[in-house]
Symmetry: C2
Subunit: 352 residues, 2 copies
């Protein structure tokens, strides 16, 4: 098969980790007889510096006409201290999500047995953790009307959801649950919010279409607690944009494997794949960033965007092999020798 | 001194734990020569059953004319499965907060060395944790306009904050920081929300009035992560209503001492004190509920509402003594004998 993949390296360590994912993807393509054409495009602070805009129209055109998007990381310290600056990298991210219609952010949290010790949680609490959040990504308070009144003394942000938006996301949740343990948790704050009541009522009405799926409804504050207490009791969780932002980040640290976690953002026409970690500016150019989360994001891309599970599996296997043999960057050091970003990427590509 | 204290026992284990706090408070009052008049009043499911309203006007009158409110817990399983039921216990809670003007919820999270093992987190991560959240409690998305349009197909919740509301809460945060380690963290989502930008700008403008306080600004998703990673790096945190709801619950489980955590909700005229745990319906009437969080809430009441630190200290000391000597309910069992709710209360009162 032939694929065009938009390549958005972004800022900080983005370009370094993206390079390794490209190498590994090319090795997989070669092995399985596919042909990938990479389409690099600017985003984030890098795009602001070049053309004054974090998600330029040219970049959008590249993404919209590709078969998938592989994304590094965005964010630069020079934008960190002034959240009201007129142009910021995050705006590019939000604009990209909206314009590409990436409504479902898929965020798995799973454990690697060799990394359990890295978790802040006790081993017996996290063993077997394997959960997936589906976070709604193009609605809610992120995109509702916002502004000031009373001469700037009052600020407001409106949170809005339609039944159709909720159905679209929940459908993905039910479908995912069907391929896993058939357990779905809808996270809301239906005891306070009207949008949450619409979420709950919409999901409840869909239950009859998936009679095998066991659905639970939990309040967001309770989930924030239970995620730390017993993460391994959850499987698929669906939630709205802001709750998802908070809970997926919370969940990411509990497994001890944060530096390895991939993610996908799915739309009707295209999907984007990226590591969950940020642009890690302090490490830029030092060849020390861990490329595995980005490499595993490429695995998700083969599996989900191209429907090629074998290819994805080949990548996951080589990552597991590297972990077992200690071919890792310094963040995963376990007393032994460690490797550079590039060296880990080379090893993975060579061992596909 | 003479005090009138409104006594809102509420539902589930509320009445049982409240009884113990009354006993201990009376013992302290006797020892220090104070006179307490308790004013019982209905709230929660108990009030719905009796008068059809979770926060009746008579209860409000009792609270508004007292020197403090001591609160047990509300919530009953018969209301759990239908968040859109017309009358629910939670509505009483929200109405009470609003009508009494309880704008600042003070939620400490600290560790007891004998309980470190109960935490889901590793000991070295939580040792020394001693943080306090100040959650804004009468504004934000909880109280903004909410509703439906498009024949019920679209739901909305408006989040609104005024500069004055933020200043009022932040002032308490700065003052509290001055009595502690002079570190204040403002938690927001200023990279996305206009209300958060107003929070940040308002707190930034107040920094000059408290030159000794070192203020940091962190995004809510980052705090949700860092709280699990390094809770002991935080001291005083201020935040808006919904973020506070999620983060205080998350923080409560990390110390391993959740069953012991008290809280206060402060207004301009009156303050309310309550344990952070819920009504624990399964344990109702079994004389097994841990009364210590409510007893420690009474300690906070003496300290904060009556400005009587010695009296508060006497309560804290006797709780520490009970923990050290194993005079605890079964949830804190450590192999040894355990005691009933009432027996723990009697012991505490006798040993004041
Ligand atoms: C950078 C920010 C706008 C973004 C979000 O809140 O969605 C980030 O936290 C994320 O989760 O991708
Ligand atoms: C019961 C609910 C309305 C309430 C809230 O969200 O404020 C509770 O979770 C709390 O934190 O006191």
């Amino acid at each position: 098969m032939k694929f065009n993949i938009a390549l958005l390296a972004g800022d900080g360590i983005g370009p370094e980790v993206i390079d390794q994912a490209v190498k590994v993807s090319d090795a997989v393509a070669k092995k399985f007889g596919h042909e990938i054409t990479w389409k690099p495009a600017l985003t984030g602070a890098a795009a602001i510096d070049a053309v004054g805009e974090p998600y330029p129209d040219e970049t959008h055109d590249v993404c919209a006409t590709s078969d998938a998007v592989l994304f590094g990381a965005i964010g630069h310290p020079k934008y960190d201290n002034d959240p009201s600056a007129p142009v910021r990298p995050e705006q590019g991210l939000l604009k990209m999500r909206k314009k590409l219609g990436l409504f479902a952010n898929v965020r798995p949290t799973f454990t690697f047995s060799s990394l359990l010790d890295k978790s802040p949680l006790k081993k017996e609490r996290i063993e077997g953790t394997d959960l997936v959040f589906l976070r709604e990504l193009t609605g809610g308070i992120y995109f509702g009307e916002k502004g000031r009144r009373d001469d700037g003394e009052t600020a407001y942000d409106n949170c809005v959801y339609t039944r159709a938006e909720i159905q679209r996301l929940a459908k993905k949740g039910f479908e995912l649950a069907m391929t896993r343990s058939k357990k779905l948790c809808c996270v809301d704050k239906a005891n306070v919010l009207e949008t949450s009541r619409l979420w709950r009522e919409t999901v409840q009405a869909m239950e009859k279409d998936y009679p095998e799926v066991e659905v639970s409804y939990e309040f967001v504050d309770a989930v924030a607690m239970r995620l730390v207490q017993w993460p391994n009791e959850y499987d698929v969780l669906i939630t709205e944009n802001l709750f998802g932002d908070i809970l997926t980040d919370e969940a990411s640290v509990i497994s001890g494997s944060m530096g390895l976690m991939p993610s996908a953002s799915m739309g009707a026409d295209i999907a984007l794949f990226e590591p969950i970690h940020g642009s890690y500016p302090q490490a830029t150019g030092l060849n020390i960033a861990n490329p595995m989360a980005t490499v595993l994001s490429a695995a998700m891309m083969f599996e989900t965007a191209f429907n090629l599970p074998e290819e994805g599996k080949a990548i996951r296997n080589v990552v597991n092999k590297a972990l077992a043999e200690g071919i890792v960057t310094e963040d995963l050091a376990n007393g032994g020798k460690t490797y550079g970003t590039k060296e880990v990427g080379d090893w993975l590509a060579a061992n596909i």
